[in-house]
Point group: C2
Chain length 421, copies 2
């Protein structure tokens, strides 16, 4: 019995088109002959697809290369301004937007107030209005927009509804179809993902990282998360919920975590735990009731100014985060960890030496290769950049492992259990 | 500047050949027209490659399928006995061999004494002799052998020499080029890998697992290891040392581990720790000095007979192994964990309920999907089956992510630091 899936001619054409776009993007400039070799497609297919891409304005001819005989070869390159994608990172502490072009360049970025306290309909209405504002300000025609990448914290689920939570540590909300609602309002595709996975994609996409790297993004915002990109491909596991490094148990007798487990590194040493410890020890963090991320920033600035109590609390946190980094590196066999997310954007320099020293001593395969650790240069917006990159990748290189969503892309869920659930 | 790697016509042919073999194997039977659709290759390429594969005896024609018009289509299938691969699992407690055919069927299996106390030259000489014995007994012509997969515990490194260790917990050996030596003596390719990764491949290959599964093999032999296969592809990380689940820290103040870190789950609750605890509590395990795996088996049998002390020691171990399983599932987003390796082959039923119950409560993405846990039905030989599968895959589907070795395949290293290093 035959159990092989067959592919339609249309799907084959889409794949050829994406393969060619991706190779042109990676190459910078390239000839048709080189494209044929690099993609394994026939010369006729490459000619046809390239002609169409030129007609659509996605590729341009840019002069001729020297040749080793025969006529000089015409070089092709991507036209980055031909298409754009919006990346949106929803977080209790702020909504971050980026507009990226087809080449991955960020052409606009901005940040608005967080979602704390807002109902899901309010959040959808705001995101739709704020994306509309941006279009008119930046002057990009809507038909050049490929779509919107929308990322946020918490586990994704493949159901028909979306749960969104104002603050995973303190309150829950009923399921709400975020992606569907925004897709309907904007009339363009919306891709959903976990923000920490998006941050890993964003770090990779933002450049400066070897294409062969095994990269782990250790993300600290309101909580602790992670994302992994190996050889340019995001590792997603069964349901796009991989790399939940904040929920590694570091103490079997530790405090209960909101996730239902005990002794998670997030519960022991994440921003909320750090802030609670600081308040308990009388550190002045200003009025209570602000998001933990803001209090954490206040505490980190105190430590950076030399406050001894603030420093000792963050040192304690760093020791546990270092253990989480060891687990992360040992399980994923990473050769690069980037400390990213708003909390590391402020406190990264306090964590970096502790994490680095710990990995030098405790990374299991250290005789094979080191694990480099660095602080992100776009810690506050890596997740939003990654969100835009998800959309660009779906045009450039729609590999299942790169952009696979848990279910239909617009009905994927962001589900965080209510506390105590 | 062009930075695209070009592929030779020879490499393209190899890729087409492998793609066709893999699709035929997965399909069971398939026509040339369906092959063309499934591989995306041209009809002419499929015709040429299939003709060659028939000439080589790897594929046979097996009658005709009904057709919806036009002439009936000839069906093709793999000839499993056309090629074979040997899988060898080196372990201090025993060397396990399997002979697998091209279809993945295990046609012979046997086990000889462990490597404890042997020098590396002795191990090489024994493996070469024992493979030779097997060939003559089973009656497979050597020209039908694709090669040997050789797997063992410990980190791999991509250097030019191989370190092998008789017992990671008690002694070290100087680097020795195992793969190279066996390859030279047998005059056939040798692929090296970590035994726990091979076990995951073996569990997948041995069947009964959905091709879309995110499978984690939690391996317990002399120590604790892991391997991951998602969608049929092994996750390898930077250097084929991924999924080192035994070296997850579960207690920052825990005992020092031979790996150099502190509080690793292997040091707290692995077979050697369990055996030491049992001896300290006066459990009669027979004479000292045997491999920990044998003592562990004795202890497990006592617990299975109802011995209260043995049961409580294994219950303690199971609680920590369950935490490691939680970390494994949370980081890899697994939907299936198979308890495999000799220790789980004996004690699996004591660990299964504890691990299952813990994951039901503590797996982070449990609202998205459950993590099923089962005991392997080939716990003692999964690593050897996986070793053979590595070789078969290199013929059937040489995808970089499936069979990538740290460096040249025959010079990859199995490096375990000496104790205290």
């Amino acid at each position: 019995m035959t159990r092989v899936s067959t592919e339609s001619a249309g799907a084959q054409q889409t794949r050829s088109r994406s393969a060619i776009l991706d190779v042109v993007r990676a190459a910078g400039t390239i000839s048709r002959v080189e494209l044929t070799r690099a993609t394994g497609l026939t010369g006729a297919t490459v000619s046809t697809v390239v002609r169409r891409l030129i007609d659509e304005g996605l590729i341009v001819e840019v002069g001729r290369a020297e040749s080793t005989g025969g006529k000089p070869r015409t070089l092709l390159r991507l036209e980055p301004r031909a298409r754009f994608a919006v990346g949106v990172h929803l977080d209790v502490a702020g909504i971050t937007y980026v507009l990226a072009n087809l080449g991955g360049g960020v052409v606009a970025r901005w940040r608005t107030a967080g979602t704390a306290g807002d109902g899901p309909e309010d959040v959808v209405a705001r995101v739709v209005a704020e994306i509309g504002d941006m279009f008119s300000r930046v002057g990009v025609e809507k038909d050049r927009l490929l779509g919107v990448g929308l990322v946020g914290p918490g586990p994704l689920s493949g159901g028909t509804a979306v749960t969104w939570v104002a603050d995973p540590a303190s309150s829950g909300m009923a399921p709400f179809p975020f992606g569907e609602a925004i897709e309907a309002a904007l009339d363009m595709p919306v891709l959903l993902d976990n923000d920490a996975t998006a941050a890993a994609v964003g770090e990779y996409w933002a450049g400066g990282i070897e294409s062969t790297s095994a990269l782990g993004a250790l993300y600290m915002g309101a909580g602790i998360g992670g994302g992994v990109v190996v050889g340019g491909v995001a590792f997603r596991g069964a349901s796009s919920n991989a790399a939940e490094i904040g929920h590694v148990c570091v103490d079997l007798a530790g405090p209960e975590c909101w996730c239902g487990a005990r002794g998670c590194v997030e519960a022991v040493a994440g921003p909320a735990a750090v802030v609670a410890a600081a308040r308990a020890r009388g550190v002045d963090l200003g009025p209570a009731g602000r998001p933990a991320a803001e209090d954490f920033a206040t505490l980190a600035r105190a430590a950076l100014r030399g406050d001894a109590v603030a420093s000792s609390i963050l040192e304690f946190s760093a020791r546990y985060v270092a253990v989480a980094a060891q687990t992360f590196a040992n399980l994923m066999d990473l050769d690069l960890i980037v400390l990213t997310g708003p909390a590391f954007g402020i406190a990264g320099s306090l964590y970096l030496p502790v994490v680095t020293e710990h990995l030098e001593r405790a990374f299991f395969a250290r005789d094979s290769h080191p694990v480099h650790v660095r602080i992100s240069s776009s810690a506050h917006e890596a997740a939003a950049i990654g969100a835009a990159a998800l959309v660009l990748q779906s045009e450039l290189a729609p590999r299942p492992t790169t952009v696979r969503m848990p279910a239909e892309r617009h009905v994927a869920s962001v589900a965080v259990p209510a506390p105590g659930a």
